[in-house]
């Protein structure tokens, strides 16, 4: 699962069940979680069961899914269970059946059919627009603020970039999240911070928002309220202004804080309405092109808001050409590249073993480098490689970046990365081989198995709850 999806998922999973009950009261939250967190098959299950009066027998569900897709089915069911969306019950005639849990089901139904209760999808501002804010304005504002945050972290504000006034709250949040450290009044980016700046914008926003929710609890704001407000923001429409009337004090405070990040825009903190920016409205979208327009426009003015615009070209000889003049992007690229020439709109350089090792020493992983390159790949690069792939009848996945480069970056990392730690749980001392095999297979099917040894009858999983439940159900 991609990083951008798993982080919010992991955070949500860590919440207690009662929090979910509260969260799912809001139709917008139910819709956002349904859309953002669930794999395709899980969405099908939820929708199929949403309008059923009686729980669906598990055997029927099994029949519905093809036998060779058992793994996908178990994975989907496991995620649904972890998010407290689906629960299994016993019907009257002792058949195991599953159903969509209530606050979620009724909220999702409300989202689909509409209802007459409160403003769960925001109130459009009624005031006439004397000063209309266009989508381009919003994009520009979001870009400026977000780049300001990143620039503050990387320390490019000295490179002739316009200084963005970052509020104290933003700086504290970055510090609390261990993305930056302040030593002798000097901002130093941490290892986590390096990882952070190389991610795509959508992941970054989620990262920040989760930090925000965590810190909100510390200063006495209700994290559930903040979280459901974030999901509400994600369901708003870009280019529309929304009324602040009827919002609680927690929500208003959140709004002010989010404005510093460029996630929402308001003319002044006292304005009666606010505009969500693209950073907010694409929070619950999967689509890369929609989630990275801000990064597309980061590569310089002139082409703001064009979805999916990349600027990096890599050749198989490890040469890198980046059509950008943004000091932020250049300093990001220079983290793992030996830059050679710089032109007004282009920098060129070469990815070498030394440059990659230098980056890895700073705590950047090969995955992060590759995903950065991928997110910002030039359309020409995409087109070129896609064209090649269609002409050859390969069954291999088509790669945008030259495979030799990505593999080599991985190898350079593996050169020094010989140990990998995975926190988890070891199951051992099984009395018979059969006792060992079934839970082991189950763990593999739901995707939590990390390691196993048939000879020693041991296996190691990253999460144990379901395996334990499985073992209990069998004993």
């Amino acid at each position: 699962m991609a990083a951008s999806m798993s982080r919010p998922l992991e955070y949500l999973e860590s919440l207690p069940g009662t929090t979910f009950k509260k969260l799912y009261q809001q139709p917008s939250t139910a819709l956002a979680i349904f859309r953002r967190m669930l794999p395709d098959l899980a969405k099908c299950f939820v929708m199929a069961m949403l309008y059923l009066k009686d729980p669906l027998p598990t055997s029927d569900l099994e029949k519905w899914v093809r036998s060779d897709s058992k793994r996908q089915r178990d994975n989907a069911l496991s995620i649904l269970g972890r998010l407290h969306i689906l629960s299994t019950t016993l019907t009257d005639n002792n058949v195991r059946a599953c159903m969509v849990n209530d606050p979620f089901a009724s909220s999702l139904r409300q989202a689909l059919m509409g209802s007459d209760d409160a403003q769960s999808f925001g109130v459009l501002s009624q005031t006439s627009n004397e000063s209309t804010i266009t989508v381009a304005d919003l994009d520009e504002y979001a870009r400026r603020q977000w780049e300001g945050v990143l620039g503050y972290m990387v320390g490019t504000s000295g490179l002739g970039q316009r200084d963005i006034n970052l509020s104290k709250g933003v700086k504290q949040l970055l510090q609390a999240g261990h993305l930056v450290e302040i030593r002798n009044h000097h901002v130093d980016i941490t290892k986590d911070g390096f990882g952070f700046v190389l991610q795509d914008v959508n992941t970054q926003v989620w990262h920040i928002l989760i930090l925000y929710v965590e810190s909100a609890q510390a200063i006495g704001m209700d994290s559930v309220e903040v979280l459901s407000f974030l999901f509400l923001l994600s369901s708003l429409e870009l280019g529309q202004s929304y009324d602040k009337k009827g919002m609680t004090s927690v929500q208003l405070r959140t709004l002010t804080d989010l404005a510093d990040f460029g996630i929402v825009y308001q003319e002044s903190p006292d304005a009666t309405r606010f505009y969500p920016t693209r950073l907010a409205t694409t929070l619950t979208s999967d689509s890369n092109a929609l989630s990275t327009p801000a990064s597309g426009s980061l590569n310089g003015p002139g082409q703001p808001g064009i979805p999916g615009t990349g600027f990096i070209i890599i050749e198989t000889n490890y040469r890198l050409y980046a059509y950008t003049s943004s000091p932020l992007q250049i300093s990001l690229i220079s983290l793992f590249t030996n830059l050679k020439y710089r032109f007004p709109n282009l920098v060129t350089g070469k990815i070498t073993r030394m440059s990659v090792r230098r980056a890895i020493d700073k705590g950047i992983t090969a995955d992060q480098i590759i995903s950065y390159l991928l997110t910002h790949a030039h359309p020409q690069l995409r087109k070129h490689n896609a064209g090649q792939a269609t002409s050859s009848s390969s069954t291999m996945p088509i790669s945008v970046l030259p495979p030799t480069v990505t593999d080599q970056i991985r190898l350079w990392q593996l050169e020094r990365d010989r140990l990998k730690a995975t926190p988890g749980f070891l199951f051992k001392d099984f009395s018979s081989l059969a006792d060992y095999q079934t839970p082991c297979e189950y763990a593999r099917d739901i995707g939590v198995l990390v390691w196993k040894s048939d000879r020693k009858r041991m296996f190691f999983v990253s999460r144990h709850e379901e395996v334990v439940a499985f073992l209990k159900s069998r004993s």
Binding site: S4, C44, R66, G114, D116, A289, L374, R382, N385, T406
Partner: protein
Amino acid sequence: MDTIDASEHYELGTTEIAPSLLTVIIDTNPHAWATIEDALPFSKAVANILVFINAHLACNYANEVAVVASHLQKAAWLYPVSHHSQKPADRDGDVVMNGDSNGPQTSKYRSFRLIEEQVNRSLKDLLDSTSNDDFRSNTSTMLAGSLTLALSNINRRTIAWAEEHGGTKPDEVAGDGGGLATANGSAAVEDDRSLQSRILIVSVSGSSDSAHQYIPMMNSIFACQRLRIPIDVCKLSGDAVFLQQACDATKGVYMSLSEPRGFLQYLMMGFLPDQRSRRHLVLPTRIDVDFRAACFCHRRVVDIGFVCSICLSIFCEPPAGNECLTCGSPLDAGNLGGKTGSSSEKEEEEEEDPPSKWWFGGWDANVGACDSDSRALNIIILDLFNEGWNLH
């Protein structure tokens, strides 16, 4: 620890999943809806379809939808509607909405509401514009026209989408199904990269009505087949021959509802999964597909007919003057008249390329076999069409 091997290239799965475009074709034939008025009134059916559309949009941020009405005399767009033909939808539409609806508008996700209002408005316009004459003079529905509209829209959207996204996108294989990478064939991999389109036909009219549209319908179906667009059919009453063939040829879902009251549940369970999810699901399809064709001369649905060997046109009886009505090739009727006279069944006629030469005797031997299994014969005919023959 990851091991290095050449077959596995490291690719990061972005969550890039191509959105899907669902085109719903609603059969708005009032005659047919009147017959199932008790079980499922039209208004309720539309409401159900709208919930279904919302569910589709809820599945992915970028999912798209189009709705076409297949009416008595014409096929009409319900959503999206081109701007010059109606009140401006988006920007100015807001002002109107601010004026007329204050309370309930806020409780609904905005894009859901926009579509709902648009569909209801255009549906009302459509029904208002239907004159009594139209109503009396016509009992069938313009299914072929709707299919064509849907197809052209899909084509346009697919091209626009591909352009917007710089050709095809990488790594959906890894991102597929939320990271459940499956080793599918390259064709499936290919499909994942472009906009996923499918068509759902909510049909109520019977088959005899649509026989006169046989040729345009089959052409649309073959176009879908070629573009790998599944046609799903939800049949509320009656059973349509050609729609069964459409589902069968395009690998779509065919469901004939025995209990139209559960319409929404059928939609949610059977028709909501998109192509990606369908790979993992057991789909309701028909095994006993009705493969009958309609003749080109009288638009009758025939079990067995005469086939022109040049252009593969189908006739229920030898055309007048023994000339193919489509391509004009002279056909040798031979001792055919006697044949049809002696046995009441119709027979297959085949003609060798120089028209003067005949292989009738050879075919005569096969006639018995064909009679016993008329479907097999028609499968052969259809398969021939599938090779890429164009019907005129």
